[in-house]
Symmetry: C2
Subunit: 385 residues, 2 copies
Amino acid sequence: MNLPLGFRYSATFAGIRKIVKDDLALIVSDTRATAAAVFTQNRVVAGPVEIARKNVRAARGRMRGILVNAGNANCATKTSEKVAIETSRAAARMIGAKAEDVLPASTGVIGVELDARLIIDALPALVAGLSADRFEDAARAILTTDLVMKTAFAEVKGARIAGMTKGSGMIHPRMATTLAFVMTDAVMAPDALRTALKRACGKTFNRISVDGDTSTNDTLAVLANGASGVRPRVTAFEAALTEVLESLARQIVKDGEGAKKLVTIDVEGATSERAAEKIARCIANSPLVKTAIAGSDPNWGRILSAAGNAGIAFDPRRVDIDFQGVAVCRGGLAADFSEDELKRKLDAAECSVRFVIKGRERGRARFWTCDFTEEYIKINASYRT
Amino acid sequence: MNLPLGFRYSATFAGIRKIVKDDLALIVSDTRATAAAVFTQNRVVAGPVEIARKNVRAARGRMRGILVNAGNANCATKTSEKVAIETSRAAARMIGAKAEDVLPASTGVIGVELDARLIIDALPALVAGLSADRFEDAARAILTTDLVMKTAFAEVKGARIAGMTKGSGMIHPRMATTLAFVMTDAVMAPDALRTALKRACGKTFNRISVDGDTSTNDTLAVLANGASGVRPRVTAFEAALTEVLESLARQIVKDGEGAKKLVTIDVEGATSERAAEKIARCIANSPLVKTAIAGSDPNWGRILSAAGNAGIAFDPRRVDIDFQGVAVCRGGLAADFSEDELKRKLDAAECSVRFVIKGRERGRARFWTCDFTEEYIKINASYRT
């Protein structure tokens, strides 16, 4: 783990969660950093997302830090925006930044008033605790139903990238999903950072699904403070950022609520990448496919049927399907395979599905999902109470 | 139960299912009946659906009967269409009808060859068993993972309507869903019957969801043989048909795989009926909403968030939400309600969700779904094997 220069992190328990566990984190760049962010596409948007969007715009792509709490989404409450403004401003003041230089983010239950006092009272301790080596403390403080901490790292020409994320339910990205924060000491111009983020996000965070629900609070932000002095090419930076985001996105799916298996879905031979993505998304979201995989059942009929629901025209007689590299369907018909052997292979922690439309088209997309288990129901039938 | 005149029914065990239970049914009208049908919108379509579509067209809206099997969907196999043609023709011959006068339908597992011989060999017994009072035998023979038989009846000006349906998984209609057959002795012209079916289906079978998956075999067919001599007004017939289809559709959801609760979702105040339906569909398909209801958790934040994913613009601050008639959200904010009392009310077998956007718009839609339980996972993790 090689952390980018010029960032400090802190975490503390502010009393927002019901249990005593850090629920407030602060990430600060020593200097103003180039900032880019993507947000949920849900029409119902939490106050902190509204304010974060405004701040990124007002700060003209240069910010100092991120203030994030878990345990309460600060959404669908009377004071949602007010709390986001007051707390991010208070944090900005304490680190000597302008009001709009701190990006607020929240995750947790919807519809319960978040008391700004809890956060404001915790700020002195939070700021006092800022340290270059507390990256993991911050990464742990943002978790909710997650079972494990999620971080990823990369280097590009000597500049460092470090990312953290959280999430294991209400995961179905449109633009971004859940909370993810990426820090880098590369030198990046605002436009280039924005472009790299959108493109990297499109192939990673936009291609995962746990339960098909998009949250009201999804925020993915990148801060590039240039502290390394390294100015990588945009394509090289984008590749390294994609590596970090893909790792984080896969970690989310792997830790999907109740999930026992990470499933990688490859669709090939569609008329375009967009068409391939649509088919992959339909397969990834089908409860029938996800439960079959939970049961290690190579039920390719459900894959074919789910693909048929994507609204994309294809000839089923040209479809080949593989599970774990084993041919189960050829030309839309059952292939000859050993059911028992394949069932054993599907007991693995990582499963692959390959869906190929034979012909001259080259549209392809990779998507990640998880299996659907009884545990998911248990977790979600009683999350709030 | 008042059956329409001029129809006979039969059912037998042809050896298609793994267990000994009737798996083949025949419905015959004594005279050619006006016929209308709607089919799945999945791009992957079973052979019997292709042939049924062709037959309805070739018969110019007048048919004699329906041949239906359970235990095998006759889909994604080498002989799918051939089997549908051979078996429906053989049945037509035996009842003295033209080849295209019998509509084939199948339900069950996908991708396993269906042996036409099994059906053809069973036909003599099936035809010999035809009787006006074996409606329920046929209704039972078409069931798969269903726990209960599903039938519904209505009268219009002295003419009778009787419907049967099956289905409890892979339920998410676009046009029609699952298998449903409706017989009536009303006198109906082909165009009028088609229009009445489409409109009635749009408000009933198109508004239910169990798991968001649309099957490859969905078929909803109506036969009107005119045996009563009653020629009802089209609007009156449509109302009675809607009553039958709504009852059948609700029975499907109530018997949804693993479902303990039938949930009725009313959306009001959207810009159009279509917009209201989109919002209702998103709420109905959200695993987070469905698991919350399984846990009797009045988690209105999930309702609001699911509605926000419909791609329909609305102001969350104008949203009111009720569970079981109890106000839980007013103007997008938590209302004051007794959590314990409401939890008890949500333990009922039927739950209601009302989602109202306040203002001048009048678009409304009703939708039915079920709760999402551990039992659903159990059933679907091992359906095929």
